[in-house]
């Protein structure tokens, strides 16, 4: 199976999840595990790499997790997604979730 890896980093009260690989529904357990480790984190940044690839079903999983976190009072932002990610987010009406935060 194609790989998706995550790495969690704490910095100044912000929890960063570095995402690396192919985001699809099949490899979403890596994201599930990352979100399960967030605990009481208040501010969460999801950081993609320029060359990460995405399938729409993977974004569906991602946004389900983001919505779950936000319902628990956690603030989630997606940092500087590549243009192809941003286009997809805009198309599905989820662009506000990745607005305004830059590296």
């Amino acid at each position: 199976m194609a790989e998706l890896t995550t790495q969690i980093e704490e910095q100044g009260g912000i929890t960063k999840i570095h995402i690396n690989g192919y985001l699809s529904s099949d490899n979403s357990p890596a994201l599930d595990e990352a979100f399960a480790q967030l605990g009481e984190a208040k501010k969460i940044l999801l950081i993609f790499r320029e060359d990460d690839m995405v399938a729409s079903a993977g974004i569906a999983v991602l946004f389900d997790l983001c919505i779950g976190a936000m319902e628990k009072g956690q603030e989630v932002r997606i940092v500087q997604p590549a243009a192809h990610f941003r286009k997809v987010f805009k198309l599905v009406g989820a662009e506000s979730g990745c607005a305004g935060v830059r590296r």
């Binding site: 399938a55 974004i59 590549a82 243009a83 192809h84 286009k87 997809v88 198309l91 989820a94």
Partner: protein, 133 residues
């Protein structure tokens, strides 16, 4: 002048990545901008996943036609096909209900590419999509 690359893939998970890697190699060969190659890869991944999920039999044929000014990709399967107008109605209905994800493959393909046509029926589905240089 045109050059073609033909790829035939089994209908099994993750084959979309093989297609996308081929698209990257073809795009690099043509000297396309990196951002355009990324968009082509996203569109191709969606097209392949749709074929794998909704056709599920036979194999997937992908033809890359490298033109002087554009790249045309033809994705063909031998599945049962689908009603495009009904799919679009379903997507509109989901939007009206505020559902944000699932079933967006066709829309994403159209957004990422410059021209897209769908030919579908009992004989299978062919998606022809073009990206200008």
């Amino acid at each position: 002048m045109t050059n073609d690359v033909d790829l035939y893939l089994p209908m099994i998970p993750d084959m979309e990545l093989t297609a996308s890697k081929t698209a990257e190699a073809v795009g690099d060969f043509m000297g396309l901008e990196h951002g355009k190659i990324q968009e082509i890869k996203v569109a191709l991944i969606e097209a392949c996943i749709n074929a794998i999920e909704h056709s599920g039999e036979g194999r997937l044929g992908i033809n890359f036609e490298m033109g002087d000014d554009e790249l045309t990709i033809v994705i063909s399967d031998q599945g049962q096909g689908f009603d495009i107008s009904q799919v679009k109605k379903d997507i509109d209905a989901r939007r009206e209900r505020g559902e944000k994800m699932r079933g967006w493959g066709m829309m994403i393909i159209e957004e990422m590419m410059d021209r897209v046509t769908f030919d579908t029926g009992d004989h299978g589905t062919t998606i022809t999509m073009t990206k200008r240089r």
